[in-house]
Symmetry: C2
Subunit: 460 residues, 2 copies
């Protein structure tokens, strides 16, 4: 059993100096790895291949004492470690470690192993967005109780440093809004739909063929993955507990080639956004947080619009900092390992020199507001009769629900049907419920053939 404090720092004041101390006198920290898939293999490889640099940066050698996998007997020639390190007994492994890296994913057995590890004095580095978004407070509470660290940079946006900037760099500022492209699969699909004009189904097939989408793409295209990340980002941004269940979630399965074209027509692109916003009352006092994942149009001039392929980016608006963006690879073995190893060095330095990283900060304890109260802009495309008075009738439907129109564009639908026209309307900010009621009212107008499509517009 390993307890916090086992490691005797050679010099507490300056661990970096230990780089010049002969290897045999450098202390060792025991590292357990849970999981050896794409990410785990990369983590194990980096721990071995970069061992000397890591030792110099930490001030202690990181000794990989075991890798917990379901089938330890399976040959893993790509992982440059002693095969004897593989074990099916994760529970025993975590009790012997100073630092546990959890890349199994999912809720169980990951949660139990993390809690056991902390009970036995290990700091934990995890990439487990689902667990953090479902039950983060339990993990934080265990970390606090046992005086160990809980780090999870890799849980949001892969290689991109965003958790640490939110937890530490922006902690003296007030975050107003976070707009994130935090799921590479959906960004790849939407980007390809934009560049090729193809539909959703065939683009997903292409993404699967190229390895950008899973055989079962549900977690990505239905927005579950992005929703977990939104919950984590909102918790950090607003010092408030937000779980996956609090996140309004719409995926991209109903985004059509026509939607993408409609976005093009207004010089915009469609992105699946994870949105975290502070909601304020008329006096400007924070009254809640809005956390949602849905497809949205965003102007091509917005920095997020140029995020192509499977890249991720997180756009942050803060009171003092203004607009910030963090861009990079959101998935993949090596990019995720980069984030994990950064956390490993951080928690290892703490074990060596004392102290620990930031605890949970949830003091603001703001309510998560219902989606109906979230405010956003809308793009609505209508098929209407082309005769006098139609626009007035449509405009009244918006006005009746307190929704202010920003732009209207009318054009003939086809050359051979001169009595029908298309109306494209973009609104100012209004509540989601007012917009939904407006769409209902429009559907009931006899001059409106159909509400062809509607989509939220973000990033004004």
């Amino acid at each position: 059993m390993s307890q916090r404090g086992d490691v005797e720092p050679v010099t507490e004041e300056n661990p970096a100096e230990m780089a010049s101390i002969p290897a045999e006198s450098v202390p060792t920290l025991k590292v357990a790895l849970l999981g050896c898939g794409v990410v785990g293999s990369s983590v194990a490889t980096m721990l071995v291949e970069n061992a000397d640099d890591l030792a110099a940066r930490v001030g202690a050698r990181l000794e990989l004492i075991g890798i917990a996998v379901r089938r330890p007997e399976r040959a893993r020639p790509d992982v440059p470690v002693d095969p004897a390190l593989f074990t099916a007994d994760a529970d025993t492994l975590v009790r012997a470690a100073d630092i546990v890296i959890e890349v199994i994913g999912g809720i169980d057995p990951a949660r139990g192993l993390i809690l056991t590890a902390m009970e036995h004095g290990a700091s934990v580095v995890t990439a487990n967005k689902a667990l953090l978004a479902e039950d983060g407070p339990t993990l934080y509470s265990a970390a606090g109780e046992h005086g160990v660290d809980l780090y999870y940079e890799a849980a949001v946006a892969g290689a991109i440093p965003i958790v640490r900037p939110m937890r530490e760099s922006l902690v003296g500022d007030d975050v107003q809004r976070v707009l994130g492209i935090v799921n590479g699969t959906t960004n790849f699909v939407l980007d390809k739909m934009d560049s090729t004009g193809a539909g959703f189904a065939e683009t997903v097939e292409q993404a699967q063929a190229l390895g950008y989408a899973e055989a079962d793409p549900t977690a990505d295209v239905e927005g579950f993955d992005a929703a977990a990340k939104a919950a984590i980002l909102a918790s950090l941004a607003f010092h408030t507990r937000v779980s996956s269940d609090d996140v309004h979630r719409e995926g991209i399965t109903e985004v059509t080639a026509a939607d993408i074209q409609a976005a093009r027509d207004m010089d915009a692109v469609v992105k699946l956004l994870a949105i975290c916003e502070l909601v304020r009352d008329d006096e400007g006092a924070p009254t809640g947080v809005s956390v949602r994942v849905h497809p949205a149009m965003i102007a091509r001039t917005h920095p997020l619009a140029s995020v192509r392929d499977a890249y991720n980016a997180v756009f942050v608006e803060a009171s003092a900092a203004g607009e910030l963006m963090f861009y990079g690879k959101g998935a993949g073995g090596d990019p995720t390992s980069s984030a994990i190893l950064g956390d490993v060095v951080a928690v290892a330095r703490h074990r060596l020199a004392g102290g620990h990283g930031p605890k949970e900060s949830a003091y603001a304890d703001l309510p998560v507001v219902d989606m109906g109260l979230a405010t956003t802009r809308y793009h609505i495309s209508l098929a209407v009769a082309d005769r006098p008075g139609v626009l007035a009738q449509v405009a009244s439907a918006f006005a009746d629900h307190g929704v202010s129109i920003e732009t209207v564009r009318q054009r003939m639908l086809t050359d051979d049907d001169e009595s029908r026209a298309s109306l494209v309307i973009v609104t100012h900010r209004a509540t989601d419920s007012a917009l939904a009621a407006t769409v209902d009212a429009l559907t009931g107008l006899d001059t409106v053939d159909a509400v062809v499509s509607w989509m939220r517009v973000e990033g004004a």
Copy 2:
């Protein structure tokens, strides 16, 4: 005199919990502010106006005990503090503080005050890029000796979290290259030259009129400011001491409207880049670092090309993470204060709960290579005679110096001078000295009227 340890943590395990403890039982940390210009005023305002949130996030109240200025008697109605807090006696002030925020800038008296503060047990947060780039190791050494923190997020790229990501998030990875737009004034000037076609001098005047350039713009346009930031970034990226003097520096004063047009012709923009690169031998082992600031062409498809106006961005390439970019406001009172307050919270948490931030990491101790050994691509524009054999002769001059040509574009110079032509050549990567020798050789060719311009090309 305040000593590290004066503050008795109410609960060492969970400082965040103190948010719920009545105000009178929350501990207090004494904060001294050195300087009250644009940044200092904003820091003081945020400390006062956000006091409750800062207390909840730290677990202790941050008490502003004094602001050192040259003329304490001057009225400062915009700074919402008791005028009695202003003092000319910085030396006494820093001895009484737990945390010292230094925003005076420059080498002296900032250095002496920081060292005095550390001797007396205060942690230091500074935005002073010049001092860090000239004498960072002295500050780090004092911080280590006295067991206090040295934080400086605001010293590079203002509000953008980049120092912490380099020091902590990427510390398990290997940074290969950093390309930074880290000076807002020069980015504003070059961006305006690109969008208007105007020349350097008139654009600088415009920038001055709009407040984007100082009356004496030397530090910005000659690249001194960017060079200091390059030194700091290179030190962090490569775990090696790099000072301002090590940085090869060229400003933008000689960038012409013709250069900007030449960049446009190849679908590129001109940016002043702070470049930090790891240099490797033929086996891939690191042999040195190249650190330089100069104008360079960069393709419009590169993420840095879309950084407009006075915004900053830092593009990082790391072995495992791949390409990352950090974007935001690089200057201004509030953005800089955002970075400073984040650091203040970090060092305050350490004082409360124990531990400290990362120390200097310079173990790699790589030599800074001469500019002649830096490798880059080049764009060279020649005025030549338009007759057979000229291209062969020009191509030979490149080949003779081992410089490989990527593209050549030839066109008539004017309609009325059919015997003269323009040759635009872009090279593959070659050493700067080989390129300089090539340019010399080209100048000596009788078929070459003139080397009209040359500029480095980055971000391939």
